[in-house]
Symmetry: C2
Subunit: 348 residues, 2 copies
């Protein structure tokens, strides 16, 4: 009580690298000094942290970034407000997307690495349906899956951040849309609230029969967010000239030893002339803004219902990630670290 507390940057770091299943004990909270931006850098006050399966994947191995090591701040995509900068063109008060803002209250990032966003909606939309996961759905469908009207599309993790947008976009394209989740409650939600034609529980005792019933004309497109045994099952149900858009392998992230791939690769790919193709959203960076505008129009017009569930408080980020990996989420999971800025806009 003798003096004001010194402001700190609360962070969540990786206490130790998981070798098996991830638990909260792999995380630690530390308080560090608020960092200073170097020339060309910004100081950003984080507002929303994105919780993604990729947070787990980054602990496992080098992917499109180096592996996360013990002691490092958990890497994450964030939205935040610029509160400091040195020798950049970014205005104080601007809202920026940071690919690597991390699980912390303040981040210093290179100005080159952020994207200033034109705020047209509550920031949770910019993190969800208008952000990374909505854009992933958009480009995965538009560039890889190329679903056509009259075709049947199946999407896994269908109630998840990307999946629930995939399904709604595919409906707009005129496809029959079938979701796969691990929960009957989620499936009811997809069909009753989001307009999916059918949904199947992958825990079903007779998954094949349920897929047959849900997809009477077979499967033309599989938007795969999970990999694993479900991919093997789906491949057997696919029609000639079908496409698999490989978007994620959430079934494999929480493990130190990836399972063997699906039987049927490459045999079924040949007999059915299937195409499997992976993609990363970052490859379409120059087109994000245009695609985000398309998605914003859909949301504004009520053609897409975004499902977003912010969790309040940085300290809850580890549990939010564990819940996501366990399939307990509905829609886009994010953690709120601070309130949205007042809508009066930024000042310099």
């Amino acid at each position: 009580m003798s003096s004001s507390p010194v402001p700190v940057n609360r962070q969540i770091v990786l206490a130790s690298r998981p070798t098996g299943r991830l638990t909260t004990s792999h995380f630690a909270i530390v308080d560090e000094a608020i960092p200073e931006p170097a020339p060309g850098q910004l100081l950003v006050r984080n507002i929303l942290l994105s919780i993604d399966p990729a947070n787990r994947a980054w602990m496992q191995a080098a992917t499109y970034r180096d592996r996360l090591e013990a002691g490092q701040v958990i890497d994450a995509f964030t939205l935040g407000e610029v509160i400091g900068q040195r020798n950049t063109n970014v205005a104080i008060g601007a809202v920026v997307e940071c690919l690597h803002g991390g699980w912390q209250e303040y981040a210093v990032v290179d100005a080159e690495e952020v994207r200033v966003i034109d705020v047209v909606a509550p920031l949770q939309h910019h993190m969800g349906c208008l952000g990374i996961t909505g854009l992933t759905a958009y480009f995965g469908l538009d560039r890889i899956a190329k679903v056509k009207c009259g075709e049947t599309l199946v999407v896994s993790a269908a109630a998840g951040a990307t999946g629930h947008i995939v399904g709604q976009l595919a409906k707009l394209a005129g496809a029959r849309v079938v979701g796969v989740t691990g929960s009957d409650n989620k499936n009811r939600f997809l069909c009753e609230k989001l307009g999916f034609d059918a949904a199947v529980n992958h825990h079903s005792a007779d998954l094949k029969a349920e897929l047959d019933a849900a997809c009477p004309s077979g499967i033309d497109v599989y938007f795969d967010n999970v990999g694993g045994p479900l991919l093997e099952t789906i491949l057997r149900h696919m029609n000639v000239a079908g496409r698999v858009a490989c978007c994620g392998v959430v079934s494999q992230y929480d493990s130190d030893s990836p399972a063997p791939g699906p039987r049927g690769v490459p045999g079924l790919l040949i007999t059915k002339r299937l195409r499997m193709e992976g993609f990363l959203l970052t490859d379409y960076h120059d087109e994000w803004h245009a695609a985000s505008s398309v998605l914003a129009d859909h949301v504004t017009a009520g053609r897409i219902t975004p499902v977003e569930a912010p969790v309040d408080g940085l300290q809850h980020a580890p549990q939010a990630l564990l819940d996501l990996l366990a399939g307990r989420n509905l829609g886009k999971v994010m953690v709120r670290v601070a309130d949205d800025p007042k809508p009066t806009g930024g000042q310099t």
Copy 2:
């Protein structure tokens, strides 16, 4: 000696369906009457039988044709001469490709199912580099792999019927070409006689190091004829935006229980944005003639060296197939049942 022998149609049938490794005991020779064509059908005297991994696959399960059952003539692609017909437009003496002429001396086939070929070379070329396997190489490269100059292409079963044409076509496209076989002798042949840049033995104790050495800039295209563990290894060596043309899974045909697929599917497909795509030559049927002309030009000009090894005698077909499945072949394997027709052309 009392009368001329009645002409018969000697056939090789499946004596019993193999449940494990195929042996000569799974085959039997039978003599049947020479069949009569019904209206719309041709009677064809088989000249060359194509020996393909698909002969084995057809015994295993329904693919793009029904499964072959015990008692049935071994199905095979053949070249033969039309010696009878009823109510068709096909001339007696025409040389025809039959997708399902079978392991027999005479075949009755629907006129709709054959392709009359314009004989511009010894028939063994029409069965090899200008036929099914040459065309498979052509369309797999042109439509699926799309190898570009300066890229590195790896082809498995590289000394095989399709592989040795793939490598030579990819060299013509300006690629670095690396073959994979199971034999140092084959590898020397590929590099010394066919112009491959390098070749690797998949039995090598350090396959990864050998691939690294042979592919210093990584692998952009993998033309996969074998599937199995090699596919898993190659995926790890592929460059971002690489392509896998899935052409065959010879490693899996001689078994009743396909092995799990490669680790890395779909994880590596995502992080490296890889595309895997299967194809069947039959989908390009309307373009065979044009592609065959391109290949004939390459052969005539000496830009492609076809490797073909006809085995004389129908009775040797089972062993020829076993040799093929065991990797003992070089180039296109075929069995000669009769001599090429005299080059004077057909008469009606």
